[in-house]
Symmetry: C2
Subunit: 336 residues, 2 copies
Amino acid sequence: MTSTFAIAIVGATGSVGESLLQILEDRGFPVGDLHLLASNESAGRTLPYKGRNLRVRAVEGFDFKAVQLAFFAADQSVTLAHADAVRKAGCSLIDLSGALSAEQAPRVVPEVNAAILEGRTAPLALTSPSSVAVAVTLVLAALRDQVQVDRLVINAALAVSSRGREGVSELARQTAELLNGRSFEPRLFDRQMAFNVLAQVDEPDADGHGLLERRINQDIKALLDNASLNVAVSCHQVPVFFGDSLSVTVQASTPVEVNQVIAALDAASGIELVEAGDYPTVIGDAVGQDEIYVGRVRRGLDDPCELTLWIVSDNVRKGAALNAVQLGELLIKHYL
Amino acid sequence: MTSTFAIAIVGATGSVGESLLQILEDRGFPVGDLHLLASNESAGRTLPYKGRNLRVRAVEGFDFKAVQLAFFAADQSVTLAHADAVRKAGCSLIDLSGALSAEQAPRVVPEVNAAILEGRTAPLALTSPSSVAVAVTLVLAALRDQVQVDRLVINAALAVSSRGREGVSELARQTAELLNGRSFEPRLFDRQMAFNVLAQVDEPDADGHGLLERRINQDIKALLDNASLNVAVSCHQVPVFFGDSLSVTVQASTPVEVNQVIAALDAASGIELVEAGDYPTVIGDAVGQDEIYVGRVRRGLDDPCELTLWIVSDNVRKGAALNAVQLGELLIKHYL
């Protein structure tokens, strides 16, 4: 066992990549050699790490034999293009794009299903699930002894940062134009995003489901190890800069005891429960925090087996970069 | 039968009241004497109607014997304070506040359940339901022959205009302050509304449900005449000026045939179906329109009996003022 690990971050210049770098530093991850990789266009830029400026190199042509662990925080196409080379190089991989199948790279949230890795050996490939699935399964895992889930209906109001930095700047631009009474041509989004709610966040398939909606559905069933669960997912884009706002309605197999649910959420690590009457929001609560915030714990008006929860989380931190770093910590502790 | 009717509008100076006045004019409602009424503070203002400026008077002390039909578009307390006097004056009443019980004033959407009025005689008191219930039941009534509904999960993203003109001006103010890098104290809303999603739109009760959530639940069960329906409702406030954006997941008793659902919605009057792949939003589609817009018609990923719909509507028009005027048209045609 070495005391430090050679690491690559692919997609280092994106918002999740930068957040990864920051969290590795903040948590004292035992980083040895550090390779920041990106597309050819972004190569040559520098990023700060522990007071130094590190140069970003092109992922094309990089030899993954040089590292023991690679984080992939770019588009799915980038993961698909390099996953084989990573494996052949004997390097472990943590993918944040969701490009790989469950067989190629199991989805893991350490607090939820780390046990599925027992008995496996490096090199390992893991998927850090979609931010919505991370938040929802963290909460449901904390309620394992209180709520037997039969069905989930998830409505996810996603911030424009889910579209990267361009999403953030485009919402700011549109808002400023409108407040100044000027017209504009929308960019990135297919119509006006400012002061509007978009019904979908990516291109729907022939059945009308978006890629992210399908991914969240599959992530949740895999993470909860329950293939027979019914999971309905609707993702909407809201004029918010950062953070996921989730409304989750659970159908349980037995009547929900709200007091027990509240006690279990209160005791869970990584979850911040906001007291009844009040509620958390992305601004002021979730954004910039590692915790998932939960509020509005309610039993159904017509069905005692129904439970509704409001969940907000930082889609870039726990939803993506933090969970990936925690997976890295799991790997170096037990498998590398 | 007279050819015109003496009308009162209580709450005439509010946004719904003004919209009522406009729609009465637009639709050629046979208005005879017209009495615009409001609180003492708003009395004395004038409002335009058919090119004239009409003076608003105080509702306090108004004798409802002078009119045959009164619209109540103010707070619930105003309806409660005057409903008895209206009834004793032999005047019919259409309440938009939801203050009266189902026995006192049945909830009616003409396209959905006008039949329940058969055999009744004037004076009548009717409730124009909450805007979310109007939109959802209009769509489900159009699907009566296609979908037998067992359970509904409704997530309603409500514009700030649901809080009246003050909501609109406060969102504009907060947004401008933020874009100019200035801090501010929130007014009307309990925290920052700009670029944020609030988990509730009014004060929750001891069980965590908001007044509007309960009202929507009761409205829908009454309108669909199905007391055993399970209706879960979550209302959120989004940084949007006008219009309701609704995500509705239906659990049906038999598998959903999406093609039949699409054909039925396409044929329904008052509903504008947006083709698959595209979707409607409040901006550009619903706001300022009488129609309810529907899109993203999808069957469940895990359950063929599940149907998810995206519905947007103008919360002030069909959601409130237009439906109330249509109720007025129903009354003058058959009952007054």
